[in-house]
Every structure is written in C-alpha cells, then in structure tokens.
C-alpha cells in the first residue's frame, strides 16, 4: 500500500513538474476559415501542442489586426506570414523575426483560348493590391486592367467571360487550366510569393526546429503536395536572404 502511494505521488509530482516546464507560446490566426493562412495556422497549432507547448490561440482572422497584435505583444508569439504583405503591413522579414520559409509560388499569367488571336486592348484581371505599373511593364501599355477583390473573384471573372487574361496565384491558375478554357504560365518577372513563419519574443533558431518538424508531418506534406507548392528548404540564413530579396518585388512604386 505504502509503495503504491509513493509511486502515485511520484507520478503526480513528475506530471506537475512537466506541466510547469511546459513552454507557453501564442499563435495568431490572421486568416479567414477556408484560406491558406487559416489552414496553415491550424496545422501549426496542432503541431505545437503535440510538441509539448502550452499554446494560446488568438483567432484574429484579419491580417492587419494580427500584425498589430504581433508588433505589440510581449509574449512568445508565432504567426504565419507572407512576403506580399510586408509593405502594406509595414512588417518586414528580419533576422529577429524570421523563423522559416515554408513554400514559394510564382504568380501566373493566364489567357483565355478565345482571346489568343487578339493583339490589342486585352482586358486583364488583377488583384486589388497589385502594382499596376508593374503589370503594364510586363504586359504592355495597350491593355485594360480590371481590378478584382481577390483571387477567386478573378477566377470567376475570367470563367464568366469578363476578361481575356488574369494575373493570379498558383492555386487559382491551376484550377483555371483544369477548366480547359485557357492556358497559364508562371511569370518570371512578376514577384514570387513566399509563405513564411515569423516569431517575436522567441528564440527563432530554437522554434525553427520545432516548426520545421511540424512541416514534416504527413498532414503538412499532403497540404503542400495537393497544392503543388514548392518548398525550397535550406539554411535559415539562405531562406532569410531569399525572402528578403523576394519581398522587394512587392514594393509598389
């Protein structure tokens, strides 16, 4: 009996000690359900819990509010992010906050089959945050730029026959190609989107190892594979340099 009590107490004490040493970390969700930011955040959240962290989940759902919270917090915090937001949100990737480059994807230029013979006055759908000067440089001055709210609205627009071309992300462009209504090609001039993880009040090197392991999980691999997302894994330094280089492409002049 005595032995049993001592054993139970030991187990209890070990459990308490373990619980006390659990590291606390906040993860901010900055995307809406159904979007990539949200999906990735959920997978990191589950992964961090599995890795033994005491995870505080802040479901903000809007990038600008999330960035504000990220900048103001004094707690160890991580957040998924991407280089196309840095100028708008005034939050750049630095050695202090950069944790990992998760994947990269180019912007695609798609054109409908029926407009292939058209040589001038092409209508081009683009996202509302795109640099129109850059689009004019790439596609010529003799085009009509048509703004859309987001990538899926653009896809609907081109499928509905509104425009002859669209500049869209990889996911929507692949979808468009599946439709058989037109073709797409990745642009080597337009900026490349890089999805990252950033952190604050945290040892970025230590958390990088944890985050990297989470992305090696089958769920994450399936997520990347099903969306044909390219993952350029290398050293932290190289990933940071690449991200910083590519974020310059989103500077609207």
């Amino acid at each position: 009996m005595k032995k049993t009590i001592i054993m139970l107490l030991s187990v209890l004490l070990v459990s308490i000690a373990k619980a006390e040493t659990k590291q606390q970390i906040t993860i901010i969700n900055n995307g809406k359900a159904g979007g990539s930011y949200h999906a990735r955040t959920q997978m990191y959240r589950v992964g961090l819990v599995a890795a033994g962290y005491d995870v505080i989940y802040e479901d903000v759902g809007k990038i600008s509010q999330a960035v504000k919270m990220f900048k103001e917090t004094n707690d160890p915090t991580v957040m998924v992010y991407s280089n196309n937001q840095v100028y708008k949100q005034d939050l750049f990737h630095t050695a202090e906050n950069f944790v990992m480059l998760e994947y990269q994807q180019p912007l695609y230029i798609c054109q409908t089959n029926r407009s292939k013979s058209k040589t001038s006055g092409l209508t081009v759908a683009h996202g509302k945050g795109y640099d129109t000067n850059l689009l004019n440089k790439v596609l010529g001055e003799d085009i009509v730029l048509v703004p859309y709210k987001n990538s899926s609205a653009m896809l609907n627009g081109i499928l509905g026959g509104d425009v002859d071309m669209m500049v869209n992300n990889q996911g929507m462009s692949l979808k468009y190609m599946e439709s058989g209504h037109g073709t797409c090609r990745p642009s080597d001039v337009l900026p490349v989107m890089v999805a990252t993880v950033i952190g604050t009040n945290i040892d970025v090197q230590a958390i990088r190892e944890v985050i990297f392991d989470i992305t090696m999980d089958i769920q994450f691999i399936e997520y990347h594979t099903s969306r044909q997302l390219v993952r350029p894994t290398s050293s932290w330094q190289t990933e940071l340099e690449l991200t910083q280089e590519l974020e310059k492409g989103y500077d609207i002049k």
């Binding site: 809406k32 359900a33 159904g34 509010q65 499928l159 026959g161």
Partner: protein
C-alpha cells in the same frame, strides 16, 4: 450509416444555427470545423447540405415570432412575418414558409434535372460581371420603386444612406483606405451586426412591444396543417415564381440567397402589393431554391461561390476531393443525383417536421411572457453585439454603432429598412461591378 450520421449532425447544427439570431451557415461551418476534419468527402457534402437546408427552415421561426433575422436573407420574413404576428397568425406564417421551402427545394431539384446539360455548359454565365450588373440594376430599381409604398424619394435616401455606410474602409477594387477619418477600427468598414440590430431589430422590437401594450392578452392561434395547405395553395403561383427567381439568383457568386430572397420579395411586392402571405412565401421559397442552386457550381465544376462554401471547399480538398475536374462533369452530376439529392429531399422533409413543433413551442413561450421575451431578446442582442465586437477586436465601434443606428432606426421606424440594408451589404460589390462594367 455514416451518411445518416452526417445528415443528422447537419440537421441538428442547422436547427440550432437557424434559431440563434445572428448565427449563419458560415459561422456554423467554422464552429464545426474540428469535427468536420474527420469526415470523408461524402459526409462533408451531406453535412453541409443538411445544415444549409435546415437553416432556411428554422431561420424563419425567430424572424416571424421575434422579428429577429437569423441571417441577412431573412429580412423579408421579418417584415412580413411581423404582420402575421400582429394578427396572431405567426404559426400560419411559419407553416406556409416551411411548405414553400419544401416546394422550392423540389422545384430546384427538378430544374437541375431538366437543365443539367445546359447548366454544365453555361453555369459560368452567372459568374460574369455583365450578369451581375443587370441583376443589380434590376434589384436596385425594385428597391427604389417598390418599398415604402413606392415612395421613390424615401427609398432613394435609404439606398444612399446604406451605400454611404458601406464606403468606409477598403473597397473591393482598391486596397487604399477611404473615409476612415483616421479611425483604425473603421479600416475594416462598419460592422454588419450593429446595422442589422439598429435599423431592423430595434424598430421591430419597439413595434412588438407597443402591440403588447395594446393587446394585453396576446394569444397565438393554433393553426391546423390543413389550413396551412389551403392557404399555401392560394400562394402557389407566388411560390413557383419565387422558386424560379431564387434558382437563377442562386448562381450569382457571393450574394446568392440574399439576392434570391430580396429579388423574389421585390417582384412579389410589385405583383401582390397587399398580400404579405404571398410575399413571405415567395421570398422563403426563393431562399431554399437559391440555396440548392448555389451549391451546384461547387458540385459540378468545383467553384465555391459563397463564404461557407469556401470553408467546405477547403475541407473537401483536405479530405482528398479533386473537385475541379471539368472533364469529368458527368461524374459530378451523377454524384449529385445519386448521393446528394435523396438526402436533400429527406433533409427538407425533416425541416418541415422540425419547424412545425418548434414553432409551436416558441409561440407558447412567446405568448406566455411576451414582455420578458422582448426584454431578454434586447439584452441578448446587446450581448451578442458586444461579443462580436470583442471577437472582432472593435468593441467600442460596435457599441457606438449600435447606439447611433438604434436611435436612427427608431426615428425612421415607420419606413421599411430593406433598401438601406440591401445597399449596405452589397454596396461595395455593386460599386466594383459597376466600375468593371465601365472598364470591360
């Protein structure tokens, strides 16, 4: 068995979602996401279908009895349902709405069956800016000419107020901020909930409360199902019209059921000005018909066109679905009629059966303590507004908006607020559609 579980859970979630004011299909999908992550493709589709269908039934109950819209597409049910409520015929209103909803769903299925090959070839017509442009012109015209007994000036002012309220923050065509007056909270625009509460719920509660003062012994009449059917038969042409209008509007991305309900309501208001029953039936029928139609672009060609469908789509992809197989549309169509439609019909029948007793229960509760229900509801709406404000990190703005819009709502309580709310919800999209129409 697994299909039955998915449908049952969807029906349960739909029942709760419809009855809780302010909740909607999107919110329900977000809440249910952890559970849904374990579902396979068919279960996900069935859950969503059952949820979305059931909400259309139960959403009518708070709209008619309490004057509180379950979702933004319940506005006509609130306005016309209140008229039934005043005549102690709330149960009749819920009954005809439920029967109309079933008919709307059946007509939607029949239309899909008849038009399937045409739909597969031409569904993207509904995605075009041109289609949206003319639909908006049509509905805006109705808003100005039909509501408030056709008082064009009043309706125009209401439309302008609604549009003005939709302006602050980012527009749909530019990431530049506008009319925020330096307020950070306004960068995300004026929130929807205070607008709905202020312009719609506050005046409605005020009217119901005043009715209470007049009719001390308020009693709802228990209406036999036969009587409901007889009444419904009188509204049959309106219901069929609503089904067809709702079905077509259901394909319009982003605004499908709102557009379906309001267009059908506006048309019926024009055709049968003094028949709240026909207006109610037409809008509620359009709701269900539009709901089914809105799922077709996703099911046929893998294009989600509503917020809740975007969530569903993401879950479907994670569950291994490859929906955007345009070359395999025939298989998708076969799947709709083999796996979805039978359950859809069942869900609608359950909806009818559930809405009926629930309506009675709520009626009993309401008639027993109307004053307390109104007060509880007012407190609940304030609490809900504050909760959503906290969730949105904009509590102060939500509170200020509620106070301001509540006061204005009371001042203009004699006018129907539909044009204002319609323009507020769709103002940004209308602006973008009109601009694109000029560019294209």
């Amino acid at each position: 068995m697994e299909e039955l579980i998915a449908v049952s859970l969807g029906l349960l979630a739909g029942t709760v979602t419809g009855i809780v004011p302010g909740a909607g299909v999107t919110v329900a999908m977000v809440i249910a996401t952890p559970m849904l992550m374990g579902f396979d493709v068919t279960q996900l589709l069935l859950f969503y279908m059952a949820l979305a269908s059931m909400v259309q039934f139960t959403g009518t109950i708070p709209a008619v009895f309490l004057g509180v819209p379950g979702e933004t597409n319940s506005l006509p049910a609130v306005i016309e349902g209140t008229k039934f409520n005043r005549r102690m015929m709330s149960q009749l209103a819920v009954g005809v709405s439920a029967v109309g909803s079933v008919l709307g769903s059946v007509i939607a299925v029949a239309l899909t069956f008849l038009l399937l090959s045409f739909l597969v070839d031409h569904v993207s017509v509904f995605f075009s800016n041109n289609t949206k442009f003319y639909l908006y012109i049509f509905v805006m015209g109705f808003c100005v000419l039909v509501y408030n007994r056709g008082k064009v000036l009043i309706n125009s002012v209401l439309c302008l107020i609604g549009f003005a309220l939709s302006l602050p923050g980012e527009s749909d065509i530019s990431s530049d901020l506008r009319y925020t007056m330096g307020m950070e909270d306004l960068e995300f625009g004026i929130p929807l909930m205070p607008v709905l509460i202020g312009f719609l719920i506050v005046p409605t509660l005020y009217k119901i409360y005043n009715d209470h003062q007049r009719v001390k012994q308020f009693k709802g009449n228990d209406v036999a199902f036969k009587k409901v059917l007889v009444y419904f038969m009188r509204c049959l042409p309106s219901s069929i019209r609503g089904s067809v209008i709702g079905y077509l509007c259901g394909f319009v991305p982003g605004v499908n059921t709102i557009l379906a309900t309001n267009t059908s309501y506006s048309v019926e208001k024009r055709l049968n000005r003094n028949s709240p029953g026909r207006q109610l039936v037409a809008s509620e029928t359009a709701n269900n018909s539009g709901q089914f139609a809105s799922m077709l672009p996703l099911l046929l060609i893998g294009i989600p066109i509503t917020g809740s469908e975007v969530i569903l789509y993401s879950l479907l992809v994670d569950a291994g679905w490859s929906p955007f197989q345009f070359d395999n549309v025939a298989n998708n169509a076969d799947m709709i009629f083999r796996d979805i439609v039978p359950w859809f019909v069942l869900a609608n029948l359950v909806g009818l059966l559930v809405a009926w007793p629930f309506a009675k229960q709520i009626l009993r509760m309401f008639t027993a303590s109307k004053k307390y229900v109104i007060i509880s509801l007012a407190i609940f709406m304030i609490g809900l507004n504050t909760y959503l404000g906290i969730q949105d990190y904009r509590t102060v703005l939500y509170t200020i908006c509620l106070i301001v819009f509540g006061c204005v709502g009371l001042l203009i309580r004699k006018h129907e607020p539909v044009p204002l709310i319609f323009m507020f919800i769709l103002g940004n999209d209308i602006e973008a559609v009109f601009l694109r129409q000029m560019l294209i």
